[in-house]
Symmetry: C2
Subunit: 464 residues, 2 copies
């Protein structure tokens, strides 16, 4: 596209470092972490809110659609351009990559371009952290637009619950600047909620003020074997009653999810001896109290003894057991084809949902294996269905499509669950959005879209 | 209005218990808890969502505007009709007054008509509570529409942070039914956010699913004297560092706020001897751990000793110190005229805001006294300015108007604060909404209003 006037105009606005057009430079912006592979017209890399406004104005003039991209670590293809080659990627990597900490207020103002890891690093000396714990290292703008979840959600909530202030540039160029550090501001519509978790469909998040939490002084971790899902839930209830507000993770790994991690990674060890239990549960308590005040290992041991889990419970350092949980994705990748679902239901229904999916697979796709794991305390379960193509009759694409529809239908319609517990919404699950989201909510989203982005400049997902 | 056809139609829809027209019956619906005094055309008391839809349809046909009313305990006049005598009060008191608890899931489905006290009573046997603690006893529908705060916000957040599912009837009759018990449902626009804290301007909340918390097994309370606001903040920081996630209240009472409570209520006692400190801080730790596991009184004593507050700190039973805090409103009512502000700022700026208000009063209204108290951990402060009319030159109304504008301007424009930290928005602070709310947020609210309630049937507050 050497005759394309758009990059030249962007160049005039942003300077030479602000625009990329060389195909070699574009490549890394065109492919997502798990899903999404497209072609960019060019990449714009603004450094300020005003430059974002200018980029959008320029793109509107040229009729070019724009997709915002942070760390490009999302799992629903919401940050990559489509295949048309006509979309501009607005990369936030240079957008205010700075952190301003108010230690007394326990808040931080961040730019969209800040990496999560960089934020945590800045907060460390203050004994604080932004309590969202993910496998990836996104930039804050994308993280907020995705409303990510993670392994500490049961304690601290999702991103939405930890954002105080927001600055966003709407598709029509309107800047909503509400960079307030207010924990309470009950003055009508909480406008920022419209932009959290909507994948940049209405506006591009440029800066934010975050609420911070105490960095734990101690963590106590145990791995507990359970014979079935009901026992997992009983354990959860016992922990919540006895360990209360200190529970900070409750990660459930089925035998089918854990075994591949152990098989494919020789450095991983599980303490269960010869036979893996149906479910291994990683429990973590965390506290800001120091050991002199409260011995967390002792507390966890006592709590587990009380809930009759003394025998099949193993206490260990966090670094002894967390690698098992973190090794699951990699292990499952070695198992042939893997179809992943990010579901949630009312958590008391997790065993029933899992059993129903198991039954559906046995009846219709007996060659497939259900490998489930997840954050049960918050109702989330990652179901991964694996199989070898050699064992499966028929076209893989047809199997995938039929299996997706069946399992999503089960979770959403059969169990009043969610087709996207924490990964958010993007082209990868657009069909789910269209099929399952309440039409009245879609109509409300469409009204927001018409208001914020009447020309439809923004995003790759259609909310409405 | 004996010839008014509207009550007769509502009677046909709702039955005899569903409509009130007798002026004696209407009286209690026409006057708010603190502000708001109007005249109702009639009161409709639907029992189901379908009946709410029918009432709204009937009112739209007759061109009658509707105000929803729960417990009528709000503090911004959002639940009472205006003075025109043309508005219908839609009382939610009969709307699903039942609670369904999922103890394992730690959620409860409630109807709009449930009283907060009744909900807590139902949850007691399960060792759970809805962690919003208020001076009043609202109905849940109104509480959600107001997004109330309260004394445990620093630990558990506001209402918004504890609502999982919502059913709402929009002004145009559309029912958005999302009664899901999902802690994670990241599928695009979180539609319920539009109706939480918007005072029924877009729709009437009929049912909800709430997230519950462990009822504390222990509370430890101390009252601590501080010489100034900076010392209060230092105490807060020390407590958060050492007591971490166990801090459940941090209530700050200035000398001017506490003294009238003590003077006017002989049963109240403060432990400070002859002289009250500039600030008395009520600190509460709470935990689900039992005393065998962690002695909370011991912990609080140790923490306070560490932060060099051993001398002026008094530990006591909760019932020894909470009545001081709860006695403030009543005490201040005895002090003559009282003008109340519900403000919040970034909490590190609370001493500076208080000093600035103090200086403004000294310069312009030297006869007035600043009596401040509040939830400093979440940045909230209730400023009450008191004076005797006999001491004040000029018309009281003019003084009130000038003082309001000066103090709101200071808080919102001078300190990037909020004119309504937790009481929400209604006719009482409509002028603040119009003056201070970001025009871009108002425009977004107006788009929501056009979508949800195009005929403008609902509410007494104008969001947009």
């Amino acid at each position: 596209m050497t005759n394309d006037p758009l990059p030249a105009e962007l160049h005039a606005l942003l300077g030479p470092a602000g625009v990329l057009t060389d195909p070699a430079d574009l490549a890394r912006y065109e492919t997502g972490w798990r899903y999404g592979k497209g072609k960019a017209r060019c990449v714009a890399r603004p450094t300020t809110t005003d430059e974002v406004v200018a980029v959008l104005a320029c793109c509107r003039r040229h009729g070019a659609r724009v997709v915002a991209q942070g760390g490009n670590t999302g799992l629903v293809a919401a940050s990559t351009p489509d295949a048309s080659g006509t979309m501009v990627v607005l990369a936030t990597e240079r957008l205010y990559p700075t952190v301003e900490v108010d230690a007394l207020g326990r808040t931080a103002q961040v730019g969209a371009g800040v990496l999560l890891s960089a934020l945590q690093q800045e907060l460390l000396p203050h004994g604080l952290w932004f309590p969202i714990d993910l496998g990836a290292d996104p930039r804050l703008g994308g993280m907020l637009a995705t409303n990510t979840g993670g392994t500490r959600l049961c304690r601290h909530g999702d991103v939405r619950r930890n954002v105080l202030g927001l600055e966003v540039v709407c598709g029509d160029g309107t800047v909503i600047r509400e960079l307030t550090a207010l924990r309470k501001n009950n003055t009508g519509l909480d406008g920022k909620q419209v932009f959290l978790g909507t994948s940049g469909a209405f506006g591009i998040i440029t800066r934010a003020v975050l609420q911070l939490a105490s960095l734990p002084a101690q963590r106590a971790v145990a791995l507990i074997g359970c014979r079935d899902g009901e026992q997992v839930l009983a354990l959860l209830q016992a922990l919540e009653r006895a360990g209360g507000e200190l529970l900070s993770a409750f990660e459930v790994m089925s035998r089918n999810a854990l075994r591949p991690a152990l098989v494919h990674n020789e450095r991983l060890r599980a303490p269960f001896g010869d036979a893996l239990p149906a479910y291994a549960v990683l429990v973590e308590l965390a506290t800001a109290l120091d050991r002199q005040r409260l011995d967390l290992d002792e507390l966890l041991a006592a709590v587990l003894a009380d809930c009759a889990h003394g025998d099949d419970a193993y206490l260990g350092a966090p670094e002894a057991f967390w690698p098992l949980r973190h090794g699951i994705s990699e292990g499952l990748r070695e198992e042939g084809r893997g179809l992943a679902f990010d579901l949630s239901v009312a958590r008391s229904r997790l065993p029933a949902l899992t059993a129903a999916v198991q039954a559906a697979l046995a009846a219709e796709w007996p060659f497939a294996r259900l490998c489930d794991y997840g954050h049960w305390a918050d109702g989330g379960t990652h179901l991964v269905v694996t199989w070898r193509d050699a064992d499966a009759p028929g076209e893989p694409e047809a199997i995938v499509a039929a299996m997706q529809q069946r399992i999503y239908d089960l979770a959403v319609r059969g169990f009043a669950g969610s087709y996207s517990a924490e990964h958010g919404v993007g082209p990868h699950n657009q069909r789910c959005y269209d099929r399952y989201v309440n039409p009245a909510v879609r109509a409300l989203a469409a009204a927001c879209k018409r208001h914020c982005d009447p020309e439809g400049v923004l995003g790759t997902v259609r909310l409405g």
